[in-house]
């Protein structure tokens, strides 16, 4: 555990100093937004054992709501973000109520289909700008005091929010509620027989995950200044799955590593290979499923555990984290 603390301290230090090293704040902000998205997704996949194939719906709906309120209605930054998060929470509740009626692969297919519904609404609704999306979203200021125009200021705001979400997710997972989720993931009939109303727990986990995904979407809109259909696209749902799986689902830091890898890949490889990025992403998916299902962090933790011979820890990591 001491090693983990040291690691987090170093990671925080790196994140705080990143702009000084000359890493583009825009790149770091995009990375943090997607890392937040992946962490929120991991709350559902890794810690509750539900694979949603439609998380882009929450990310995208919050992004659209924030962009629309900030541009067409001139809402301030904080209310626009809060409204976006509220939209994704409400949508999470509606989709969650329907989707948790089925489990496993059917759950995945239902979430995929419902997110496609959201996509068509975003495509055809009169206020979403159709194929163009919503452009020129102003960043505004925090409570009218702190202007967010500067990339560096915005970066620290995004970083603070990301750390808050990260800590919140840790807190949720370690809470009694999180333990019940784990029990449901491991053995649903047993959780039922112990008297837990599992649908209530699953729904709450789904809503929490979609709400935090929405926050990531709203922030991404403000960072980049636009929202397009690619935010609600199925490909976006696929990417967040890949980030989580690649980094290690069911580990706290895995999704962050996964997001960093995927975003870096997209930013740098797309210059080199153009459209082949899709093919590479698909190939990574295949490789990930076939060879390292625990993800980078999961495999590392397992290797460390087997080296130090801590059998208990090893056993815990032995089972991959899908339901």
């Amino acid at each position: 555990m001491r090693a983990a603390r040291l690691f987090y301290a170093l990671a925080c230090l790196f994140a705080l100093c990143a702009p000084l090293f000359g890493i583009y704040p825009m790149f770091m902000m995009k990375l943090l937004c997607f890392a937040m998205f992946a962490c929120a997704f991991n709350l559902l996949l890794g810690f509750s054992g539900m694979l949603s194939f439609g998380h882009a719906a929450f990310f995208g709906s919050a992004a659209y709501a924030t962009a629309w309120l900030a541009t067409a209605h001139g809402w301030g930054t904080v209310p626009a973000i809060l409204a976006g998060v509220a939209v994704s929470a409400a949508l999470g509740w509606v989709i969650g109520v329907i989707a948790i009626r089925r489990r496993g692969i059917y759950f995945a297919m239902v979430t995929l289909a419902l997110s496609q519904l959201v996509y068509f609404i975003c495509l055809e609704a009169p206020f979403t700008g159709g194929e163009n999306g919503l452009q020129d979203v102003p960043r505004g200021s925090l409570f009218g005091a702190l202007s967010l125009k500067s990339d560096v200021v915005m970066y620290y705001v995004v970083l603070a929010l990301f750390i808050a979400v990260f800590v919140l997710i840790r807190r949720i997972v370690h809470s009694p509620f999180g333990q019940v989720l784990k029990a449901i993931r491991e053995n649903e009939p047993r959780a039922i027989s112990l008297g837990y109303d599992i649908n209530r727990y699953k729904l709450l986990a789904f809503v929490l995950s979609s709400t935090l995904s929405g926050l990531a979407g709203s922030l991404k809109t403000l960072v980049l200044g636009f929202t397009t259909l690619s935010d609600v696209l199925q490909a976006n749902s696929g990417e967040v799955i890949l980030m989580t799986l690649l980094g290690g689902s069911g580990t706290f830091f895995g999704p962050v590593i996964g997001a960093a890898l995927v975003i870096t890949l997209q930013e740098y490889l797309s210059d080199l290979v153009g459209g082949w990025v899709t093919v590479i992403i698909g190939a990574i998916f295949v490789a990930c499923v076939l060879t390292f299902r625990r993800g980078v962090v999961g495999e590392l933790a397992a290797a460390v555990a087997s080296m130090t011979g801590r059998q208990k820890e090893k056993n815990r990591l032995e089972s991959p984290n899908l339901p």
């Binding site: 089925r102 995945a108 289909a113």
Partner: protein, 294 residues
């Protein structure tokens, strides 16, 4: 009686035929998905990609080698089926022992590879495939004009679905297949080569998708994305109908196609989403699906 609810009957019937054509594709794809899922426990996300490959195989066969439509109806599914068997041997067989979700993720990755490769080689713009000479033109039925090719697609796919049903329910091969679905290790102990059977089934399932792709090529715009948008709808069809029965997937495929067609007449804006809305309603009212056993 030329108008119903202020809409000309000919328009309604025209959309009905279009809906049936779409429904035929839904039926053929969900049929393949159901057979693959039944035997392998894998939800084949790449099904749409194989459908796209079928259409591209027909298109490129015509452009490069002058292979006509009728030959393509046989050759394209054959080629795609062999490719499917290769995928099964190389990748899919490693995930049977794992949770079903890994199969979904693996085939999603395969779908991305196929889609991306097609897009890089052939671009995103749509291409069209000519309607074969023998099926050009229209039939005047008196109350409506029926394009011959559409009638052919509906009849052909009904025939294919019936044939698949016969193969699985009434032949010795089908009996073996059903036995493998029921208890594969036991069947293997009886001396049946189950891994071969599984590979052939996957090949057969994706060949069915490719056949749907060839049938679709002359009526739709052929793009690398055509399968991706279809597979999501087919998933919804499968959730509605349940993956338990062949009959269920065919009936729900055709019915949803027809409903979609009618929605185009009554409220065109909703035609893209009507299947998903129906899926949500079915899940609320009857969570196990209409024909499901879960």
């Amino acid at each position: 009686m030329t108008h119903v609810l202020g809409i000309p009957v000919a328009v309604i019937l025209g959309q009905l035929v279009l809906g049936l054509v779409n429904g035929a594709f839904y039926a053929m794809l969900s049929l393949g998905l159901a057979v693959i899922f039944g035997l392998m426990g894998v939800v084949n996300f790449a099904h749409g990609a194989f459908y796209t490959l079928g259409a591209f195989a027909a298109l490129l066969g015509l452009q490069w080698f002058g292979i006509n439509y009728w030959a393509a109806l046989v050759l394209a599914p054959l080629a795609v089926g062999i490719l499917g068997i290769g995928c099964e041997r190389l990748f899919l067989r490693h995930v049977y022992k794992l949770e079903p979700l890994y199969g979904l993720l693996l085939t999603f990755g395969l779908a991305l590879v196929v889609e991306g490769t097609l897009r890089e080689f052939f671009g995103s713009s749509g291409r069209s495939y000519p309607v074969p000479a023998a099926l050009q033109g229209v039939m005047n039925l008196g109350f409506m004009i029926l394009p011959i090719y559409r009638a052919w697609v509906i009849l052909a796919s009904l025939f294919i679905c019936a044939g698949t049903w016969y193969l699985i329910e009434r032949t010795r091969l089908g009996a073996t297949l059903r036995a493998a679905t029921e208890n594969a290790p036991l069947l293997q102990a009886f001396g049946v080569n189950v891994p071969l059977l599984v590979a052939m089934t996957y090949g057969g399932g994706v060949a069915l998708a490719a056949l749907a792709g060839v049938l679709a090529a002359p009526v739709i715009v052929v793009t690398p994305y055509m399968g991706n948008s279809l597979v999501t709808v087919v998933f919804a069809v499968v959730v509605i109908g349940g993956m338990g029965s062949i009959f269920g997937s065919v009936v729900s495929g055709l019915t949803l196609g027809i409903i979609e067609g009618f929605t185009k007449v009554i409220y065109p804006e909703a035609s893209n989403i009507v299947v998903f809305v129906i899926m949500a309603l079915v899940l609320i009212l009857r969570p196990a699906g209409l024909f499901g056993k879960e």
